[in-house]
């Protein structure tokens, strides 16, 4: 609680107690009025002063003015009529209580969101000639050596020069499994060092480091306003004057008509109803709850490593109908691995050994994946007379045998008994002394969560899933079938991807958004072209963070459906709040005009609704973990 909140709470309690006590003191007329003025002024003095200032500055339509007019009006009616001062005080009391709740709830949510984003390191331990010095991260230059002890947060992006440790990345990615780092590994700011001491050479300035970029992104997010937020702002601008004018009309026109018809104007009754209008006229429930819902939604998503760059993107994402995926690095791991060894006249080990031996001096990705699979099981035999046949493969002499390792063209020229394989992926054939002995399939591994992610997407209401890839048709079709994608376009150049995305956007239904998910490498133009660009695995990749609208900190495709789920929930809450607030106010206005609603109900329509809307908005912070 802030000082102001404490003070206001005391005011509320004191004036409420006084009001209740005074009801039982039997004094009359002016004494009674003077007595009730005490709690009224205690609870309302600041409102009255503000209202007066508003009038002086020609800004009369603020809520203080409305509350002042309504309660002073109620006081006058009480003095001239029934002597019930309680109502005016109660209205002021309720109003202040509601304001208090609002300020408390907003403060709480502000804090819980900033706690969520509490990844900003306070200092960096800079290594100097005479020991370590705690320095403001902003003053650390590139290439400085900093020391991170166990339990400390990495302040600046850099490379480990000594030490090894487990890093807790959960603040950035929502991933709870720690990551191990060793000498030579890149580390990003915001992670917490779990165990050992790390010495890190910084590679970036603090302001360009991951942590600063993320914080900036999240803080700017609520400045990019959604359609619903602009609607509410526009609505509020019209709503208050309209209600105030209606109140004025209600105070004047019906009494005049009634005077003409029956000779009885009933001024007090109509003015009371008009005052009720004034109480309801404040738009605050709407103006606060909608941005708060978005803010909480963005905060809740951030907690799970999903950075949404603006409320408008959150709104757009909730309408997603088509999701387009890039293949390599998005649905697949983007690393080639040996997936199958198919010997034909040799043993599996023999086949792998010969292929690996022939390729051992090559730096080609295929060679590397063969060597990786072989993994130094035994010492590789020497390869002699190694020669590369351009576009076909490699030939070499290993021991006494002549070995060919390459594609089908190489086999057709060099091997007997060769049967081409119909496997998808890259197939490497091997022959020994002119005899075909089998093949090895190398392909990009599909991520464990990809199939599940696509199923989840369908569950959240995505109608169509598409994969775009530069890979061969065979490999693309095989992956698509495994994953259950609706459409596949393969053998594409980067510009084809942009064109196809444009076509898909054109063809997709109105009011439906097209999402593109990529790993941020080479697909920046497509990320921009799509309605929503999601970059994944973006820890540290500047281009991806720049080009996309939503950034997934890790590379788990399941997060896409999580993000869509969050956006849907957020929009649902926003809609609930809009309709609930406007609905209750409209009903109370009608009841007030007809004389069924007194000022107590009006105050509920104002502050009660606001508190409920704020509490509803806070639901966005609670996100189910999957």
């Amino acid at each position: 609680m802030t000082k102001k909140q404490k003070k206001n709470l005391i005011r509320i309690i004191v004036s409420a107690v006084l009001m209740v006590v005074f009801i039982f003191i039997p004094v009359d007329s002016w004494m009674r009025f003077a007595m009730f003025m005490i709690p009224y002024l205690i609870i309302g003095y600041d409102i009255l002063i503000k209202a007066a200032k508003g009038v002086i500055h020609l800004q009369p339509f603020d809520e203080c003015f409305l509350m002042s007019v309504a309660t002073i009006g109620a006081m006058i009616i009480a003095v001239t009529g029934h002597g019930d001062y309680v109502e005016a005080i109660a209205v002021m009391l309720f109003y202040q209580t509601g304001e208090w709740f609002q300020s408390y709830a907003v403060g709480k949510s502000r804090k819980s969101i900033s706690d969520l984003m509490d990844i900003c390191p306070e200092y960096a331990n800079v290594e100097t000639a005479d020991g370590q010095k705690e320095t403001d991260p902003e003053d650390v230059e590139i290439g400085t050596v900093i020391v991170i002890k166990a339990g400390e947060r990495i302040p600046i992006d850099g490379v480990v020069i000594s030490g090894s440790s487990m890093l807790d990345t959960s603040a950035l990615t929502g991933e709870s499994v720690p990551r191990s780092v060793h000498e030579g590994d890149e580390v990003i700011s915001g992670c917490v060092n779990g165990s050992g001491v790390l010495r890190v050479k910084t590679t970036k300035l603090f302001e360009d480091s991951t942590v600063s970029r993320i914080l900036e992104l999240v803080e700017n997010a609520s400045s990019r306003k959604s359609g619903r937020e602009s609607f509410i702002t526009r609505f509020a601008r019209v709503y208050t004057p309209v209600v105030v004018l209606s109140a004025l009309a209600l105070a004047i026109i019906p009494p005049l008509i009634s005077l003409l018809i029956s000779g009885q104007p009933h001024w007090a009754m109509w003015i009371y109803r008009a005052l009720t209008f004034l109480v309801i006229s404040c738009p605050c429930a709407l103006v606060i709850s909608v941005p708060l819902s978005f803010f909480a939604g963005i905060g809740g998503a951030g907690k799970q490593g999903i950075l949404i760059k603006g409320s408008n993107y959150l709104e757009m994402l909730s309408k997603a109908g088509t999701v387009i995926f890039d293949k390599t690095g998005t649905l697949t791991k983007g690393v080639f691995e040996v997936t199958e060894i198919c010997p034909d006249g040799a043993t599996e080990d023999e086949l792998l050994l010969l292929a690996a031996a022939a390729e051992q001096y090559s730096g080609h990705p295929i060679a590397l994946s063969l060597l990786k699979r072989f993994n130094g099981r035994s010492e590789l035999p020497k390869a002699e007379d190694v020669s590369e046949v351009a576009g076909k493969g490699i030939t070499a002499r290993i021991g006494k045998s002549f070995i060919c390792v390459g594609n089908s063209k190489l086999m057709q020229d060099n091997a007997k008994g060769f049967v081409p394989s119909d496997k998808s992926g890259t197939v490497v054939y091997v022959s020994r002394d002119g005899q075909y002995i089998g093949h090895i399939v190398i392909s990009d591994i599909i991520k464990e969560n990809s199939a599940k992610a696509l199923k989840e997407l369908k569950k959240t209401g995505i109608r169509r899933t598409v994969m775009l890839t530069g890979d061969s048709k065979k490999a693309a079709d095989a992956a698509a079938q495994k994953l259950g994608l609706d459409d596949v376009y393969s053998e594409l150049l980067p510009e084809d991807k942009v064109r196809l995305t444009g076509e898909i956007i054109e063809k997709s239904g109105k009011g439906e958004a097209v999402v593109f998910v990529g790993d941020g490498i080479n697909d920046a133009p497509v990320l921009t072209e799509a309605d929503i660009g999601i970059a994944m695995g973006a820890m540290g990749s500047d281009a991806a963070i720049e080009a996309s609208d939503i950034v997934l900190m890790d590379d788990d495709p399941l997060k896409i459906s999580t993000a869509i789920g969050i956006s849907k929930k957020c929009i649902r809450i926003v809609n609930e709040n809009i309709w609930f607030s406007i609905g209750v106010k409209a009903i109370c206005l009608i009841l007030g005009a007809l004389g069924f609603a007194n000022m107590w109900i009006a105050v509920f329509a104002d502050v009660g609704v606001m508190v409920i809307a704020v509490l509803n908005a806070m639901r966005n912070l609670i996100q189910k973990k999957k």
């Binding site: 800004q59 609520s222 400045s223 702002t233 738009p283």
Partner: protein
């Protein structure tokens, strides 16, 4: 040039009104007030002194919301 200032204001509607008022001040190219983070982002026009412009912005906001605070000094 863009600058961000911390602000203090009680209600969301008032924050929206402050934004409107600040946009009308001479020397301000654009302004966004974020009630949730309590921050005011001001983009200044070329050739204006930022302190002087902020004086005017502060005055304009005070007129609308007498107890608002902008930390710009």
């Amino acid at each position: 040039m863009k600058k961000t200032y911390k602000i203090e204001v009680d209600c969301a509607n008032c924050a929206a009104k402050m934004e409107e008022a600040a946009k009308k001040v001479e020397g301000v190219a654009d302004c966004t007030v974020n009630f949730m983070t309590l921050k005011m982002k001001v983009e200044f026009k070329e050739g204006f002194d930022e302190q002087k412009v902020m004086d005017d912005v502060f005055k304009a906001c005070r007129k609308i919301e007498p107890d608002c605070v902008i930390a710009y000094k």
